[in-house]
């Protein structure tokens, strides 16, 4: 591999690497100089990579790179890419981080919706949230707080490093306008004023 590879081989490598999915001969040819011997090039690259950790493989009439099948065990391939945390989970985590320690009821009050059981469980399973004692009020509800793992994951030295409301607003992350409009629309139905006819001037 020390010898300098030919330019057309380099192009095929780069194309297949950057592609969103397997490519047909025609799709590859469209990016290469005219008259490039696409099939021969592909076979050349296929041979070159045959023993490596990455292989060029053909599926139907499409080609793509994939990791060598025998290395499957070290990749421990996930069934799916890391999933995005649900909005409920992110919001719950945010409320806990900003207000900790908080009870479940407080989280629900701030978010305005009830919290499904799975959400807190998930955050605890991820190691970002932990139970942190009980509030000494009737019912002694459990309190929740963030963990050192939470700080580590978000690269924070302490919770005080979280941006405050003014800073969120300054960064454009606190925009109540849309919600204010929505709230105003909801109020619209209420009768504006009720006077007059019923209490005429006769009295």
């Amino acid at each position: 591999m020390k010898d300098v590879p030919r330019q057309d081989v380099r192009m095929v490598e780069a194309l297949l690497f950057a592609a969103d999915g397997p490519l047909t001969l025609d799709a590859i040819a469209a990016h290469l100089p005219e008259q490039a011997p696409v099939r021969a090039l592909l076979e050349e690259v296929e041979t070159m990579y045959a023993a490596r950790g990455i292989n060029l493989v053909r599926r139907g009439n499409r080609w793509h790179f994939q990791t060598a099948p025998d290395l499957f065990h070290i990749l421990r391939r996930a069934d799916a890419a890391p999933r995005k945390l649900s909005r409920a989970a992110i919001e719950t985590l945010a409320v806990i981080a900003y207000h900790e320690p908080v009870t479940r009821a407080q989280v629900e009050e701030i978010r305005g919706v009830s919290l499904s059981k799975g959400t807190l469980d998930l955050l605890m399973e991820m190691g970002w949230v932990r139970p942190a004692g009980r509030r000494e009020v009737p019912g002694r509800p459990l309190l929740f707080a963030t963990t050192p793992g939470f700080l580590a994951h978000f690269n924070l030295r302490s919770r005080r490093d979280l941006p405050g409301l003014d800073e969120l607003r300054a960064a454009g992350l606190l925009d109540p306008l849309a919600d204010a409009l929505e709230a105003a629309r909801e109020e619209q139905e209420e009768p504006v004023l009720n006077f007059g006819e019923a209490s005429g001037p006769g009295d």
Partner: protein, 253 residues
């Protein structure tokens, strides 16, 4: 000053100062642009000339009645002061020293802005991922222990900003106050005045209320409604003395 301004401007079309104030991001940006037009190394720029160019620009903009943001005018005032300090006869006065210091400060700020602008351009010139170089288009992904879920600090901040913003919207919402509109007041007066030819207090023709806020609205709208109807010749208005109650009657005769 305008003459000087034109003198220092080369006549070539693209060199002419475009009087579009939107083109600059604030006074410092405009100053840097003017400094570049001196076509010398920024370390050799003449602060006095720069000051005069800026003041001329502002004068032109005002002559053309362009909207000028306050910070442009603040900078103009500052530069006018700087100019007078620089023009004082050379002596060891405090003013002269202060002028030199102000000029130095402006000079350093321009150099810094210029440096960052150049640096930004140099960054964009690099082989950027997704522009000149590409990462793998369809990675299989690695399973990494506990990181099955993805959430960045940005996601977290945005979520909290959303929640907090919602709370804030409620506290800022304007409560609807009871109001007696002008239209309502006119309708009310029209109905109650009828054909009454006797003088009567205006307030007797308006709705009564125990709500002090609403009463203020009734008084104001009732008064304006009475004026409007008087203007239309439909009622007559009088006040016997200063501070006496307003009286109205239908404009019969």
């Amino acid at each position: 000053m305008n003459d000087l301004f034109r003198e220092t401007r080369p006549a070539a079309e693209e060199e002419r100062l475009d009087l579009d104030i939107e083109g600059w991001e604030g006074p410092l940006d405009l100053l840097l642009d003017l400094a570049r037009r001196q076509k010398v190394d920024l370390t050799r720029i003449s602060i006095l000339e720069l000051t005069e160019q800026y003041l001329a620009f502002i004068a032109d903009a005002r002559r053309l009645r362009l909207e000028l943001a306050a910070d442009y005018l603040v900078m103009a005032a500052w530069l006018a002061y700087l100019k007078s300090a620089l023009l004082l006869p050379k002596s060891d006065t405090d003013e002269e020293a202060e002028g030199a210091d102000m000029a130095l400060r402006l000079h350093l700020r321009l150099q810094r802005l210029e440096a960052m602008r150049t640096a930004g351009a140099a960054l964009l010139e690099r082989d950027r991922v997704g522009e000149q170089v590409f990462v793998r288009g369809a990675p299989e992904g690695l399973q990494q222990g506990s990181r099955r879920y993805d959430c960045s600090l940005y996601d977290l901040m945005r979520a909290y900003g959303y929640l907090a913003g919602r709370g804030r919207a409620v506290s800022y919402s304007i409560r609807r106050r009871p109001v007696f509109s002008l239209e309502e007041a006119i309708r009310w007066l029209e109905r109650t005045i009828g054909g009454a030819v006797d003088w009567d207090r205006l307030s007797a023709h308006l709705p009564r209320t125990g709500d002090p806020v609403f009463r203020r609205s009734v008084t104001a709208s009732g008064f304006v409604a009475a004026l409007e109807l008087a203007r239309q010749g439909r009622l007559v208005l009088r006040q016997r003395a200063y501070d006496a109650p307003l009286e109205i009657r239908a404009a019969g005769e």
